[in-house]
Symmetry: C2
Subunit: 266 residues, 2 copies
């Protein structure tokens, strides 16, 4: 690959597009790509999904060999302009534009006993990123998002997922009907759908999660919506001591998923 | 109790002290108190530890009955001044000054099989707050902090702990020697100290946590320090799939603590 194209103007079309990809959910979904900031998120991108790379002049001077060997378009951006576009306080000088993976549901249930996570209106991006990263570590096969969830491709989620977003299949649903259809299909395929409900539910460590399992995790303040809870095969709760009213959504997801992982190892 | 004292000046001594309690760790430790912001953290304060309450004029007008029945000093602060002092973007109009609880170690090990958490250089305040809240839910008897941990009484920790900070005994240690002494004492008292180490350790779900148990949780980037790890009775690891390098510290703490809680329920 040849040297990068130099960009020094904020009115450059590429720069405007990059800035929109960082700031607007609609731009990401129309273009089918999102942006990973920093060196770690560049190193972890599967190379076939790397659409373009933007580096600061300074970064390019220091790492030209790394950039010149890339087979995707690369742009070297004026340092001040780069810092202005970046979503972080201390930019590392590299932004990767990455193709959004669109997994199909069939592929997920082809696995013998898939482990799935359904997020219901998880709106905090840091929480969502942590859940995606925790999900990968616990071995989830995919994460399904309800309408009202944070956009998983926004910079804060991408950052806190720390690369897991490149690897965990994410299925976002735009309407409740679509979500319900997908859940119905999972149930038809023999996957057991567990809601999480603090009231009167069976303790989470009692069911057998070695068969196809999907956990529905609700929003921290409101829990799983009644509509979803009604459609679950069963509800489980995490017994709590003290006076804590609810667990953080990422913590609840971790406790359930690692219990499933524990049973599946045994 | 009579009506509150009205304060309209930023140079008022009480206001300066309150502002220092919110902003400076040293001020909190010298005064032996910290500040809980908002209605929820006011409602949850054990009344015998409530030292003073500051409300905005507007809050007082709406909730005078609530404030007038308090038996601690109460101050009604000009709205603009109140907003300026507050640590949150959308202040709820009430700040509670709360006595710091100083638990002694003996009381902790008096319990038959205590469940303890040792935090090693957990510097992110949001993470620390989540750990304290998760700890209460899982039934920890106390949390011991190494030097280099975030100040547990800073506003961000207080906020994310959501009241658990009023109930979970916290033992902060200022020097590594003091921490080591405390851990030695725990071990003498028969408490088994588990380090968490990603390399070659036994899976976390194998040991018996129904006896006295203390988990040492390390900093997310560096893990548990070698010095502490050497002093642990045993190390455990959380088996991970995918390419995740480490779990978030709060997630790791949750997985270990709820495994202990599960065993203790059985």
């Amino acid at each position: 690959m040849s040297e990068p194209v130099y960009i020094n103007s904020a009115s450059n079309k590429k720069i405007k597009h990059l800035s929109e990809l960082l700031r607007k959910s609609r731009a990401r979904h129309e273009a089918g790509c999102f942006v990973g900031e920093g060196r770690h998120l560049f190193d972890e991108v599967p190379r076939e999904r790397l659409i373009a790379v933007y580096v600061s002049h300074t970064f390019y001077e220091q790492e030209s060999a790394l950039i010149d060997e890339l087979s995707c378009p690369c742009y070297a951006v004026d340092d001040v302009l780069f810092d202005r576009i970046s979503d972080t306080k201390t930019p590392q000088g590299i932004l990767s534009v990455v193709e959004i993976d669109r997994p199909n549901q069939k592929a997920l249930t082809d696995k013998e006993a898939p482990l799935l996570l359904v997020l219901d209106q998880i709106s905090d991006p840091g929480n969502m990123g942590t859940i995606i990263r925790t999900g990968e570590a616990a071995g989830v096969d995919a994460i399904i998002l309800s309408p009202g969830c944070a956009d998983p491709y926004q910079p804060k989620v991408v950052r806190s997922a720390m690369g897991a977003l490149y690897r965990v299949p994410i299925i976002a649903t735009g309407k409740t009907d679509t979500l319900i259809q997908r859940l119905n299909r999972l149930q038809t395929d023999g996957i057991w759908l567990y809601g999480t409900d603090p009231k009167d539910a069976r303790s989470y460590d009692e069911p057998d999660y070695t068969r196809g399992t999907a956990f529905v995790i609700g929003n921290e303040s409101h829990g799983v919506s009644d509509e979803l809870l009604r459609r679950c095969d069963e509800s489980v709760s995490i017994p709590m001591q003290g006076q804590v009213e609810s667990l953080n959504a990422a913590i609840a997801a971790a406790v359930l998923l690692f219990e499933a992982a524990r049973q599946r190892r045994a």
